[in-house]
């Protein structure tokens, strides 16, 4: 057999020199230090000025939940929208490709804040107008629920970016994989599901993780369209207590805790899904 040919040890069987700071343990430590500093800072502030900071945390607690909820729901839907958009961008059907490309190019050219405002203020008016001209009362009395519109806006926008991540991830898988799957009798969707996507997921995990963190941060924009997220609750607190430094420092630290933890989870997922190619 041929195993012997392969497993010949390299000449001079010494372990390779280590690059300082490249050991995983070093990175973990650095990250824990960062979290410890941020959490320590929050605790310190609460201890120093319990009145302001603890009251603030209690006040914005429901905002934190909404920020987190909006982000998670929007992210899950973004994953689906991105998959559809990405497959559309790869479609050989000219109409599907055209529609997906139009969507991606259109959305990427408009600021997210403007999109959110459009969905909250303009979209319902269109629905109402449509309802009136069709004579459908349910539509003409349509009131947009703020959170749903905000999530819709986030999904539409992030779905476009996610489409491109999916497209690039799928295209990074060698063509032979699809051919091998198809030659075994799988149809396009079976080949995607069983062969291409499981491999593409590993490729796109880092950028998708980044998208989650970016989405978490950008979710603060929904405070403009009547969603009482962390940012909006912070603004409400500030307007009653008139203490911008304390409020916005604490809000920033709270966001930082959330993004650091998310980055950690993403990193853990990436390591878990590594495999040799």
């Amino acid at each position: 057999m041929t195993e012997q040919l392969k497993s010949k040890p390299p000449a001079g069987d010494k372990p390779l020199a280590r690059i300082p700071g490249a050991e995983p343990s070093a990175r973990i430590d650095a990250w824990w230090w960062l979290v410890a500093i941020v959490v320590g800072l929050i605790i310190l502030l609460v201890v120093i000025d319990n009145e302001t900071y603890w009251n603030l945390i209690v006040f914005v607690w429901d905002g934190i939940q909404i920020t987190f909820g909006v982000t998670v729901v929007a992210f899950v839907l973004t994953l689906l929208a991105g998959l559809l958009g990405g497959l559309g961008r790869l479609s050989k059907n000219r109409f599907i490709y055209g529609a997906a490309t139009l969507y991606v190019e259109l959305i990427r050219g408009i600021p997210l804040l403007v999109q959110l405002i459009w969905w909250y203020f303009a979209f319902p008016v269109i629905i109402q107008g449509l309802g009136r001209s069709l004579g459908v009362d349910a539509l003409s009395n349509y009131q947009a629920p703020a959170i749903a519109m905000a999530v819709l806006g986030l999904v539409f926008c992030y779905g476009a970016y996610m489409s491109e991540i999916y497209r690039a991830g799928i295209q990074s898988i060698p063509k032979g994989q699809m051919e091998a799957a198809r030659s075994l009798g799988m149809n396009y969707f079976q080949a995607m599901r069983y062969v291409i996507l499981p491999q593409a997921v590993r490729v796109i995990l880092p950028p998708v993780g980044n998208e989650f963190i970016a989405l978490l941060k950008d979710s603060s924009l929904v405070s403009v369209v009547a969603v009482t997220d962390l940012t909006r609750r912070g603004r409400e607190f500030m307007s009653t207590h008139f203490n911008p430094i304390e409020t916005w420092t604490m809000v920033a630290l709270l966001y930082l805790v959330m993004t650091l933890l998310s980055a950690r989870i993403v990193g853990w997922l990436e390591r878990r899904n590594k495999f040799e190619r």
């Binding site: 060698p174 030659s183 495999f275």
Partner: protein, 245 residues
């Protein structure tokens, strides 16, 4: 060998943009027959092979495999179930173990249970000589081992026809024989095979027919012994003079 051809290729044309890659190729392959296709690169031999299971679409003509014309998506998938394909670059699924490579399509397409599929996989790994690699990942195998796994993966679907697209061209010289041995055994069992390869030794030992393609056409076909030793067409002579040195 029966007379009814299991593969019928009739006047197939294929264009890549302005390149006329297949220029009216017709070829019948009988059940149990082993056909080896040789020819210079760019002669259309791989394209022809890939048309048989419709990995490549053709622009004109007709291909019927095992009585099924390649004309609808449903028929194409039916044909692909019956036609195994082995690629130059192996194309194993790198994120799955050898055994998972062998069982995936059995379970998804043939609807076999995990045990059934696993048993078939085990038997095929014995057949190709690497039962101990069942739990290894493709990247842990040598090229020759990977190609043998790829052959076993195709065989796991219990195909009636096997297509080989330059199966030894990406291998180190010392690994070619182990793959050819598996192919030879397969040929001796009566598998219908169409092989694009320049392995003259294999062709002489296993093939019923050898075909020379050039510029998208079949130039000459004969038994391997005659084609390789006493070709009649000048293009064949020229090609062989460059290959056999």
């Amino acid at each position: 060998m029966t007379n009814e051809p299991i593969i019928r290729i009739k006047n197939v044309h294929k264009y890549f943009g302005h390149v006329h890659a297949l220029q009216g190729v017709s070829l019948d392959v009988s059940k149990g027959e082993v056909v080896v296709i040789v020819g210079p690169s760019g002669s259309g031999k791989s394209t022809l092979l890939r048309c048989i299971n419709r990995l490549e679409e053709y622009d004109e003509g007709e291909i019927v495999v095992d009585g099924i014309p390649l004309d609808s998506a449903k028929n194409i998938n039916e044909v692909r179930k019956e036609v195994g394909m082995v690629f130059q670059q192996f194309n194993l699924f790198p994120n799955m173990t050898v055994k998972e490579n062998l069982t995936l399509a059995q379970r998804v397409i043939r609807k076999r249970t995990a045990e059934e599929a696993g048993e078939i996989a085990d038997q095929l790994l014995i057949k190709v000589g690497i039962p101990e690699k069942s739990d290894a990942y493709p990247m842990q195998l040598s090229g020759g081992q990977q190609q043998r796994v790829a052959i076993a993966r195709a065989l796991a679907m219990s195909p009636k026809i096997m297509l080989f697209d330059e199966p030894t061209s990406a291998l180190d010289p010392e690994m070619i024989k182990e793959v050819l041995d598996v192919m030879l055994a397969l040929a001796q069992e009566g598998m219908t095979m169409v092989v694009v390869s320049h392995e003259m030794g294999f062709a002489r030992n296993a093939a019923n027919r050898a075909i020379l393609m050039d510029a998208g056409q079949i130039v000459e076909e004969a038994t391997p012994d005659i084609l390789f030793t006493a070709p009649t067409h000048p293009r064949t002579k020229e090609f062989l003079s460059k290959v056999l040195h």
